[in-house]
């Protein structure tokens, strides 16, 4: 019966299809003045936002209690939400990729497929990782509070990135060997590691989202 939830989310997303067309047209126009894989990253991000917006639609007007009376378990709901969001991101990423290739061909730029593929896979993994974080946070905190939680997480990541190396120096640890060690790892190993981490994060997201849903009262 998870298929029913998928159909629901698809129908909810289709309500916003005109926005998608606007975003896609904007992406194509902007890509003329941007280099690299702009359309792919931009549309993948839109896919993430569209997918997460189905959670807001479910929660809007107190809709979740009714959804929990449908023939699906709370676990089904959690797993479907993560799966549907992944599919949405993947679909937008693919459309972005196709548009990017078309735009590059129209502009007559020499297209480095290998570089574009590597770059776009990194974007895909990054957005899937963000998704893995967002789904349980959105369902645990609700529409309003989850924004604050995401800003807080972003702030913490930023602080770690900026102050982490400085703190290491203060503690007498030289961060340069660590940076050098990371740089020495072959790119394909880094890529494989990134994919593995993302898949694990998505699996963990399903587990945590299921816990969140099972603890919820409606």
């Amino acid at each position: 019966m998870m298929r029913g939830l998928m159909v629901k989310d698809y129908k909810l997303m289709m309500q916003k299809k005109k926005y998608f067309v606007i975003f896609a047209v904007m992406a194509v126009f902007l890509s003329f003045s941007m280099k690299g894989s702009f359309i792919i990253s931009y549309l993948t991000m839109i896919g993430l936002i569209m997918a997460i917006s189905t959670i807001s639609s479910d929660e809007f007007d107190n809709g979740l209690p009714f959804l929990m009376t449908l023939p699906v378990s709370r676990k089904d709901y959690a797993v479907e939400k993560v799966l549907f969001s992944c599919l949405s991101i993947l679909a937008f990423w693919l459309v972005g990729g196709i548009l990017q290739v078309i735009v590059s061909a129209v502009m007559g730029n020499g297209l480095d497929f290998a570089a574009l593929a590597a770059e776009s896979i990194v974007f895909l993994m990054v957005f899937l990782f963000i998704l893995a974080l967002m789904v349980p946070i959105e369902l645990h905190f609700g529409m309003e509070k989850s924004r604050i939680a995401m800003v807080a997480i972003g702030g913490i990541c930023f602080a770690i990135g900026v102050f982490g190396p400085k703190l290491m120096v203060r503690l007498g640890i030289d961060p340069r060997p660590l940076a050098a060690a990371i740089e020495s790892i072959p790119p394909y190993v880094l890529m494989a590691g990134g994919i593995a981490v993302t898949i694990f994060a998505l699996f963990l997201s399903m587990v945590v989202t299921t816990r969140v849903m099972e603890r919820k009262e409606f």
Binding site: K8, L12, D58, M68, S73
Partner: protein, 285 residues
Amino acid sequence: MVTLNELKKEYKDFTLNVSLQLQPGVVCGLIGKNGAGKSTTIKSILGLIRPDGGKIEVLGKEPKNFTGKDKAQIGACLADSGFSRSLCIKDIISIMKSMYDDFDESDFRDKCKAQDLPLDKPLESFSTGMKAKLRVLTVLRPKVKLLVLDEPTAGLDVMARNDILDMLRAFMAEDEERSMLVSSHISSDLEGLCDEIYMIHDGSIVLHEDTDALLGKYAVLKLSKEDYGKIDRSYILRVKEQSYGYECLTDEKQFYMENYPSLTIENSSIDEIIMLMLGGKEPAA
């Protein structure tokens, strides 16, 4: 079908403690004023909230152990929750087809048409009555054994209320084993629909009776202070002081009619019974 045995749910300023039983083939009404505990009881039955104590069994299972198949046998209709307002009925048809193997699309379309519900307009453009009718229509599926409806007619005009009650009566007539638990604060809706009625107040069941008995055996006695002092008060359930003397609720109308033929004895409506049960006092011995 449904057994609640000392079901407890505690909130900061409210405690629910109810026992209730719903047999196969029975339509049971849960009546009480706003905030009495009707929705909490219904949410417990549907597994939407976790009880803090007591036993709860629905279709032979605890709601926390419900599978999708179990839930498909329950038609649940909540007062303030439904499909997203941005969807239209055509979208809902696609969802229902994927959700339920017993969903009859052509029958559903016919019923929507009969109720003047547009198929391609978003629900946000629907009136309160249209939304309520749609909520009820989506739960009327052939394999449903138990209907659980929370205030299905709240806020509706008489016509819309009657339409919904007619749909429910017709659905219940299709299968004698089917049961229904319906909550409402509109007693007239329940009078013509329910076989038995539970009255809930401040989280507790204060009265449980067959509807026929409520309407046949219960009566209101309008007594002067002098008459009140004279009569046998063994069968008086509640008393309320009035300008003329006392208004008394009894569940033995026949006793007072036979023994005190000169008294003013009026048949009581469910509203009057509620008013006296909740607003009256137990008679002094």
